[in-house]
């Protein structure tokens, strides 16, 4: 369930990138100088970071590190 929610959040954020509703708008200028289309995509980066934090906390593939084993694993190729 948790993984499904995280996958849905990832897809939703991907779709949010296509912000056609701000296509022709320059105003309002966020902080008085950032065109709204640019400010939206700056916010998008912050949301991406938040999503990554959730993925790292709730879906981290810890088993990979355990399976990797030490560097002197006999299966290791030259």
């Amino acid at each position: 369930m948790k993984n499904t929610l995280l996958a849905l959040a990832t897809i939703a954020l991907y779709l949010l990138h296509q912000d056609v509703w701000l296509w022709r708008s320059a105003r309002p200028f966020v902080f008085g100088f950032l065109p709204v289309g640019l400010a939206f995509h700056a916010l998008y980066c912050l949301l991406a970071s938040l999503l990554m934090l959730l993925l790292v906390r709730h879906a981290w593939p810890a088993r990979l590190e355990r399976e990797a084993g030490p560097l002197d694993d006999p299966r290791r190729r030259p």
Binding site: H17, Q18, P35, L38, H41, A48, E67, L71, R77
Partner: protein, 539 residues
Amino acid sequence: MIPALIVLAYLGVVVYIGVFAFRRAHGRKEVEDYFLANRSLGPFVFLMSLFGTNMTAFSILGSSGHAFANGIVTFGLMASPAALVMPLMLFLVGTRVWALGKRHGFITPVQLFRDRWETSHIGTVIFAVQAALLVPYVIIGVMGGGTTLSAVSGGRVPYWLGGALVALVVMSYVFFGGMRGTAWVNTFQTTLFLVFGAVAVLVIGWGMGGFRASVEALAASPQAFLLTRERFSTLDFFSYTFIPLSSIAFPHITIFCLTAERMAHFKRTVVFYPLCLLAIWLPCTFLGVMANRAVEVPEVQGKLEARATLATQAATLAPGERAELRAKAAGDDVLVRLLNHYAPAWLAGLLAAGIMAAVMATDSQILALSTMFTEDVFAHYEGKARFGEAAQVMTGRAFVIGLTVVAYLIALRMPESIFAIAVQYAFTGYAGLAPLLVAALFWRGSTKWGALAATLFVALGVLGIAAVNAYVPAPPPGQPVPVWSLAGQDVIVRTAGGLSVLGFMPVVPMVVVSSLLLAFVSLLTPRPSPATLARYFAD
């Protein structure tokens, strides 16, 4: 001349870091030490150097130049999709590559492909295509170095000499320091650019009389479209979300994933990557747009006049005249021009050194190509067995020199803008190769023949793009030329910025067709042995 001297001093520091890394290696000649820093990078160096590796001349000079001509759309094209897709790829693919590399001792992605799909020569084909696609990226770095040093010195250091100096410096610290030197230099450079990037915004904003006034003036001018995306196709905008798939498929990024000491080091990198992107790309894009109001800067005024001539008289000009005007209007050096005009000389020098830091991220690509050549060709075809490990490292170093010289010679003759080269060839090609990595790691049904089909399609596709761009001259903006139509529908169209396939950028069909080919051919051909599959898929 002061800024140029500061930049030269900075280049000296960078070479010293490379030499210091060489001395820290205590003369070790092991392959893993030179090419992977002994898989020992800590979390901070891993984040900063991985990010720095991705922040090239394209990120700094290309982004501000593209924003200068196209407006705020630049950020949504390249930065925000990468802020989602790149860390996601590191999370899903990078961690698995790291684990397999540690478990099986892989140093290059081709070694992984060869082992996973039980193949030898198909791996060589993949190596050849990857190497050919990476070379343009190396050229970008040299071009960026030439452009930056020439602009910083007010033309006293010519483009050819600036490019030669950057090529020489990068070659030196990669030659001596290998991956350790490259990672340390990247960490130093990324930190420098993050700090001075913020200073650059403040200084230029103050010099222009404040951004609020400049933005209002731009909004009231005929160039107000630069503050929106009204002149940009929504399909093209969507197409750009496919470009960041290339990042994990770039061999220098895949190889970098193998350098982390622990897999946990990916955690901070994944979370902070979007924030670092924001910190670099937002100022570059914004300053690129604002440069359109910097009419008191003579060089910028010259670019604006060339652009205006192109817009009004393009249809009556010969292709050669159009190309000349397009080169004059190109904004790759606009950020440096702003710094030179608005910042005091010493600060302009420090800030230009920060830009140079990003430009020189080409080091990782050079090292990656050297690693791939020595591992995937020299060692694979018995060179290591016959001549030993020290000879392999020496071969890698010789390759670094040869490659840098070739890239420099090509950069001297390359007419296209930094942005166009990067997007059309390297990014599109590597995005098309990304399904190989995903299939190798996640789909047990994938086969070497599927991988070969996808690789050959990508190679032919990139050659096709290059051929059409070479033989069909770029039309004026807004006047696309149909290249191939089917049943009255324009399928391939030559536009001012490149090619369009059914309204999409070539990267979309490249990724879709490459994925379908890989899947279709894999379904028709035999899988690797159960023993091999068992080593990659636990359940």
